[in-house]
Symmetry: C2
Subunit: 359 residues, 2 copies
DNA sequence: CTTGCCTGAACAATCGATTTATCATGACCA
DNA sequence: TGGTCATGATAAATCGATTGTTCAGGCAAG
């Protein structure tokens, strides 16, 4: 047992890199370029069926997987899309993420996560993510003030699609994918009107945010058609959080001096606000839906598990994510604005809304 | 205004690729390799301070960002980590994701999302993600039966860290990062015991799942120390969902024939189950915490907004994500098991638990 | 019998950064 | 003056796949 005492006498030559195209080509007794063309089903390739079969066979045999870095370098295409999220803890946009992820996967793309705050504060991260050619395109959420201002700059460096809310600036810097916000709140309002509510209020996000303007519009439209109006004293505009919903309802309720001069139903600008409103109602001993009906925009997994379960309208977030990816992969004119109207917003009537009681 | 009428008379030679290292080197009047070494702060580089300054200056001036594909090809390192998630809609693991994302970013890494179901069903996606050298390492959630069986295979192909729950198989295939599950439920139980509860039940996930075994152990330990036991008729083991929590409480309540022979407090195996339990209690007119105290594992953003707000114990999910990334970046022996005990689980006492009432 | 065309395939260049090996220059010492 | 050595920098090879160009051979037409 003396000879060959070395422990690693003949490890296969290529240990790290796995199987290369050259290995496949060698096994199939063809050149690397030909193997590449066969494996990529190049329509212009001219090879006998036997040759093709040999190449495919060899690739299968060796478990060949193309090296993505090499492919990327040559083709200037990473197979990655960036998704810049604002607040991942919010349940609202997970569906959007899921939709984007699924559609990306269907095209053999993967998603890389970026964070709004990080990109704003960490220059290094920004450079790597935006300028480093790390991704082929970017999906960003509009409507986040400070970040909106940099979207134009980003869109110049990289194909970009904005989802959800258009930046405030008037010039269109990138294609937009959005839900039919107006239809959504209109639907909620009409639901409440049908239940006999006449005085309906709104607790929503910042008054001048693009999203709020649209959602508020939907409420106003539906009310106007029914001959009613949205009164200033029945609205509160804070942020998009549960805490804001709670504070908003407390503020409104503070104005209610008697049981007659007050709204019988309130709409929450998003599901977090709706949750906060339910909470505030419980704290203030306002019976829902007995004294007050509550409905909100966005249907999330939790809506039906709340007590009482929350009436909502669901936006096609998943489809928005899918569409955003599709637009990204088909380079779209930056002026294009896609409103997802199929499927339309859908009403989920639950226990938090009921027929208006006569005061 | 006739001359120069062409709109794009002299676009710079390199339009697509941006600034290359060669451009920087040329501007600084040095060779590309030297520029590379200076920019990467190679300790072995020998260059005069003036030369270094010139290179750095030129890079800054031109806005040079290294081409990641080229770097990756040469270094066999992508700068990406894969995070394989099971159900992104669940709020529970978002903190883990956030922790991982933050720590990755701090090391100039980015996260790519994979989906358990997709990797199980889509062979192409699996090959690209796992075998394609698309990522340098992988964080996977253990405890998802079918997927667990492939973790060993994955771990052979790629540096891997398992978070949360160990696969059932006894051999350790990759380092593990987990919270102190036993301490968490022990803490909840002790909180209830301190409130005077003596008979405490448990509604949790599948009985033989690794996570449940540990959580149940914590309950049993604390009860035993106080001279009590966990009765079989006070437990239900279904899935980890809100629906299961609801069904679990309904099952248990169905056994309660009089007000004396029943538990005064129940622990939910996770926050979803806790939410379902609150819902079932409301439906069954069981006052919480009057008739029944309810507490659950996992503190999420919603816990404090529920009615009543839910007592929970929070696990250090964020830190787990951070640690998982760190382990991945420092190639760790696969036998290592890291229990995050700093910070320890933390109790959030809220309105759903109260002093036990004498029956 | 040669020219020309088509088929089947190989050759060579390219993507951009890194890294190993090599070369020039000047200082210093014998 | 010649030789050694440290210093400063360059040349060339490499990572692996793709793509434009070229080449050899076979067959048909002139």
């Amino acid at each position: 047992m003396q000879g060959r005492s070395k422990e690693q006498p003949h490890r296969p030559r290529r240990q790290r890199g796995g199987v290369r195209l050259a290995d496949v080509a060698a096994a199939a007794q063809v050149s690397a370029p030909l193997a590449s063309r066969v494996l990529n089903a190049d329509p212009n390739v001219r090879a006998t069926p036997e040759t093709k079969a040999r190449v495919l066979e060899a690739a299968e045999q060796l478990g060949y997987v193309p090296n993505i870095a090499a492919k990327t370098l040559r083709q200037q295409r990473t197979g990655l899309l960036g998704l810049v999220v604002h607040n991942l803890s919010s349940p609202i946009y997970l569906d959007l993420l899921q939709g984007a992820r699924t559609e990306a996967a269907a095209n053999n793309y993967f998603l890389v996560l970026g964070d709004v705050d990080e990109l704003l504060t960490d220059d290094e991260a920004y450079r790597i993510f935006i300028n480093g050619k790390r991704v082929d395109g970017l999906i960003v959420q509009g409507g986040h003030g400070e970040f909106d201002q940099r979207i134009a700059e980003i869109a110049r460096a990289l194909p970009t699609v904005i989802v959800n809310a258009p930046p405030k600036s008037t010039d269109t810097v990138a294609p937009l994918v959005a839900p039919d916000e107006v239809a959504a709140t209109r639907m909620l309002t009409e639901h409440l009107l049908a239940l006999g509510h006449a005085r309906i209020g709104l607790i929503s996000g910042p008054h001048d945010s693009p999203t709020n303007l649209l959602r508020e519009q939907g409420v106003r439209d539906a009310l106007a058609e029914a001959g009613h109006t949205l009164r200033d004293e029945d609205t509160a505009h804070l942020t998009w959080s549960a805490e804001a919903g709670r504070a908003g309802l407390r503020t409104l309720a503070g104005r209610w001096e008697n049981t007659r001069d007050r709204p019988t139903a309130l709409i929450g600008g998003n599901s977090l606000i709706g949750i906060g409103m339910l909470r505030a109602a419980a704290e203030l001993d306002i019976a829902v839906p007995g004294d007050l009906s509550i409905a909100a925009v966005h249907d999330t997994w939790i809506s039906e598990h709340l007590v009482p379960s929350l009436t909502t309208v669901s936006l096609p977030l998943r489809e928005m994510g899918e569409t955003a990816v599709r637009l990204l992969l088909t380079d779209t004119p930056r002026t294009q604005r896609t409103i997802i109207s199929d499927p339309p917003p859908r009403l989920h009537a639950r226990a938090s809304t009921a027929i208006a009681r006569e005061h």
